[in-house]
């Protein structure tokens, strides 16, 4: 890494300030102004629209394996999803997901 102290801090401060501006954006400007129904209808699907897209590459081609598909990770993700859907409980999805990954990693060596 070839950066001066100043450059590193510029990255940190710019990233911090920029991220805050992104986060406050609509919440700060819109306030409690009423939004059109069609906009609200779209916004209801923000979380379920973004999070699965973030999960997909992390499960299918993880950086930790150099982008190779790995049975343990895919199985762990599927099981976590199944348990999460069935139990509606985050904790069981997390516990089962990580236990599957570690268990299979240990079994497959």
């Amino acid at each position: 890494m070839n950066y001066s102290m100043t450059e590193i801090w510029i990255v940190i401060l710019a990233l911090g300030a920029g991220t805050f501006v992104i986060r406050i954006s609509f919440l700060g400007i819109l306030g409690d102004r009423a939004l059109p129904v069609w906009v609200l209808r779209h916004l209801r699907y923000t979380a379920v629209g973004i999070l699965p897209a973030m999960v997909t590459p992390l499960v299918l081609w993880p950086q930790a394996t150099g982008g190779q598909m790995e049975a343990g990770r895919i199985a762990a993700a599927m099981l976590a999803l199944a348990i999460g859907l069935w139990s509606k409980s985050a904790i069981w999805a997390i516990v089962v997901g990580m236990a599957t990954l570690w268990g299979l990693g240990w079994l497959l060596g």
């Binding site: 990233l15 916004l43 973030m54 992390l58 993700a77 999803l81 509606k88 570690w102 990693g105």
Partner: protein, 235 residues
């Protein structure tokens, strides 16, 4: 549901967030480990963790810095990853827009994927809560998650290479997101949006600068909204 007081909403948020500390902890630790390995000093690692609080973008910045990318590219690429949070901000506006500005600023500062998803799930399930109760739920959910994120990074700096790679700490992230998504799949429209999101993430994977994420998200939101419209009134 009986009208929630801000106090009860705070604790509901707090307990809903507790399970996520199991995974936020390892992810935070991982940043401390990787940051120290990359040669950042303690103040710089903690600067990232406290001022940015956005794991995915922090890891991206670190990786680009290890490749010695120009400063501007590092900043722009990491910020592009956080653009999704503008959508989070917009979807919070109908629920929290009436809160005092200082509260909205504090909420914005702590609006990470986990606190956002927990809160929006709660607001969707009980939309009639007062603004004060909704804000209290968010603060309750942030109370365990944000300090653990920060503390775990510090711990990661100290422990460093003592953490065996077989623990696959990186996988804590997708598992958390799956745990956040599963309870949110309440209606056909939510399921359709989630499936669209996955398919588009695969189809658009070739796009640079994380643009695939924004386009996949927008497409999924359009599909969700359209399914809801065709199914008639909101269930």
């Amino acid at each position: 549901m009986s009208p929630a007081t801000p106090r009860s909403a705070f604790w509901r948020g707090f307990f809903a967030a507790l399970p996520f500390t199991i995974v936020v902890g390892p992810f935070g630790m991982l940043f401390g480990v990787v940051g120290a390995e990359a040669g950042l000093d303690v103040a710089q690692i903690m600067g990232f963790t406290v001022l940015v609080i956005a794991g995915a973008s922090q890891f991206t910045a670190l990786q680009l810095m290890q490749d010695n990318a120009p400063t501007l590219i590092v900043i722009a690429s990491a910020l592009a990853i956080n653009l999704r949070m503008a959508m989070y901000s917009a979807s919070f506006a109908p629920h929290l827009g009436a809160a005092p500005l200082w509260q909205r600023a504090l909420i914005a500062y702590m609006n990470v994927d986990q606190t956002y998803a927990l809160a929006i799930n709660d607001y969707e399930a009980a939309p009639k809560q007062s603004t004060a109760a909704k804000a209290a739920f968010f603060f309750g959910a942030s109370t365990p998650i944000i300090p653990i994120w920060i503390g775990a990074s510090a711990l990661g700096i100290v422990l460093g290479e003592a953490i065996p790679p077989a623990l696959a700490l990186d996988f804590a992230v997708p598992i958390t997101f799956i745990a956040l998504i599963a309870p949110a799949l309440r209606t056909l429209a939510h399921v359709a949006a989630a499936l669209t999101s996955i398919v588009m993430a695969i189809l658009l994977a070739f796009l640079p600068w994380n643009l695939w994420l924004l386009f996949a998200g927008l497409a999924a939101m359009m599909v969700g909204a359209e399914v809801e419209r065709r199914m008639g009134a909101r269930p």
